[in-house]
């Protein structure tokens, strides 16, 4: 393998994981912007999507019905979570919300571990396992599915948010919750809806990557966190999240290829910490001293 084809190979794997992080990042920001809840169960929904599809397939359903059942179940779980765990909190604060979602994540993880054990699972690729050659690098058709998912999700969401009344109301309540509710927008219904949407998107992502990366009870936390990194670096906007996620994926792909595969996850978490520290720096002051 030449260096060039190696680079192409790492870039392909980077873009694949980058598009996954982009969709997950959008899930985080959907919930965060409307409800101000940092929903740590997002990663678990990704895991649930893959595991439920595997479970339904094991129960004898075909691929398409089991995918649909898995998505529906995850949406329901997400909505139930909002109703029974997030809404009844009496003194809502960032800390309480975060503890509740972390707790819910560990509950979901524990239930899956008890039910299906700690083995990794997989489902067959959607369109066979044909290998596509590209400049000496290889990729499977499933990777194209992942890229397609990213395109469909972003196009669909931007159409929904910009063209429909419901979507516009959603954007309005993301900008200012109080103002939106004064205009007669039912915020509590939106919170419910956003949790459902995030759960559904997370489940779809989980299903699409399962043939590539496999799934198990513990994949959720790290995958979800990298989506969060993308959302934070992207400033909670859709375009920003996508750009940040693709860059994060590439960075991770090259880091894993050229430095160490075991430290892959460390790189993206370091990016988050460094970015957060960088954010707090007083740039105006800095610029002023340069200008003078």
């Amino acid at each position: 393998m030449t260096l060039f084809s190696q680079i192409i190979q790492y870039a392909i794997s980077g873009i694949t994981s980058g598009s996954i992080y982009a969709v997950i990042g959008i899930c985080w920001s959907l919930v965060y912007l409307i409800t101000k809840v940092l929903n740590f169960t997002t990663g678990e929904f990704v895991m649930l999507g893959g595991m439920l599809t595997w479970g339904f397939r094991g129960a004898g359903f075909g691929l398409v019905p089991s995918v649909l059942f898995a998505i529906t179940c995850t949406i329901l779980i997400s909505m139930i979570l909002e109703r029974i765990a997030i809404r009844p909190v009496r003194f809502p604060s960032e800390m309480t919300y975060m503890m509740i979602t972390i707790a819910a994540a560990s509950v979901i993880k524990g239930v899956v571990l008890l039910g299906w054990g700690s083995e990794t699972r997989t489902i067959p690729a959607f369109f066979g396992t044909e290998v596509i050659h590209l400049f000496g690098a290889t990729m499977t058709s499933q990777i194209l599915c992942v890229l397609g998912l990213l395109v469909i999700v972003t196009l669909g969401l931007s159409l929904f948010l910009n063209r429909t009344l419901f979507g516009k109301a959603l954007r309005a309540s993301a900008i200012n919750v109080t103002g939106a509710s004064l205009m007669g927008i039912d915020i509590s219904r939106f919170r419910f809806f956003c949790f459902g949407l995030a759960g559904g998107l997370g489940a779809i992502t989980g299903i699409v990557i399962t043939p590539i990366t496999f799934t198990g009870y513990e994949v959720g936390m790290l995958t979800g966190l990298k989506g969060l990194v993308a959302a934070i670096v992207g400033g909670w906007t859709m375009t920003g999240t996508m750009v940040a996620a693709l860059m994060l994926g590439l960075f991770e792909g090259f880091g894993a290829g050229f430095i160490s595969a075991g430290l892959k996850d460390v790189f993206s978490l370091l990016v988050m910490i460094l970015f957060l520290i960088f954010r707090t720096m007083d740039l105006a002051l800095w610029r002023g001293s340069v200008m003078r």
Binding site: L38, A85, P88, V89, R90, F91, E94, M95, T96, M98, M99, I100, I102, A103, A104, A105, S106, V107, K109, G110, V111, L113, L114, G117, S118, Y217, E218, M221, L222, L225, L228, V229, I232, S260, G262, L263, D265, V266, L269, L270, M272, I273, L276, I277, R279, T280
Partner: protein, 329 residues
Amino acid sequence: MNGRPRQKLLWLILITVIVAIPFVAGSYVVGVMCFVAIFGGLALGMGLLLEQAGMFSLAHPTWFGLGGYVSGILAVRGIAPPWLGSIFGAVFVGIISYIIGAPLLRLKGYYLACATFGLLLIVEITMGQLGTLTGGNEGLMGIPPLSVGGLVLETDVHYYYLSWVLCLGCLWFLYNLMDSRMGRAIKSFNDSEVAARSMGINVPWYKLKVFILTAVMASMIGSVYTFYLRFTQPSIFGFPLLVELVTMIIIGGGKTLYGPLLGAFVVMWLREAIHLSLGGLLPRMSAQVDALFFGLIIIVILIFMPGGLSGWIDRFLYFGRQVFGRTDG
């Protein structure tokens, strides 16, 4: 406050009970109470950080693990005897937490939580990858027992007393700390950072100080834990421990200083009860399965009794004072 003599009495009762337990109860109870002391001491520091100082740092298990690793590695390599290694570990963690805390504590709320959560996972993964130094994911083996001079601490009872001395020492230290100038500063910037700043309190400096103090406490407890188990592993201080600590703080209630210790007592015995009653039913009992139950408890308590157990006790005592107490004025 007329609470001084009563507080002394409570301390006396607590210490008598702790000292008496190994003479009265069997080795099983002593073993569990030893864990109560270790994790209770850890939760005390984290509770102070979370609820008293309002800094949402999730990296507390990391300091626990790092302290244990440093003293364990020094002892295994024969570089320093265990007691000196524990001190080295504490100094090391103090320096690291200063270097990391100085830029990180500028963050607030969610962002601080995310960054420290990232730190927790980074340290866990890195420890698993440094195979030659730390023994990788299988863990560090062959750690000698703690010994000072000719005295070797080997039995459960030795470690029971050691960890309770450490734990109650931490509690006593925290009570004095919160009664000092620094404690008042902590309370004030938890209520309103702007107000505290305008009164001339150096908020970032105090935040950093609390952060380092609790990190060093956690590291010392971690060293004792490592020498007690004579083994350490990256997964010991990962996500499950975080959930466990949060459960302790929430059950006990972090608004009082003794709350997390109370929570640790409840959580440890609850875990034993769960293992005993469901051990036959559920084949795969592990830290992750414990985290399932703890997660449920966290959700229920945060929704139905946000003050935790100590919140209840305080309300009860307040009620008692209102009805039966002297009227001072």
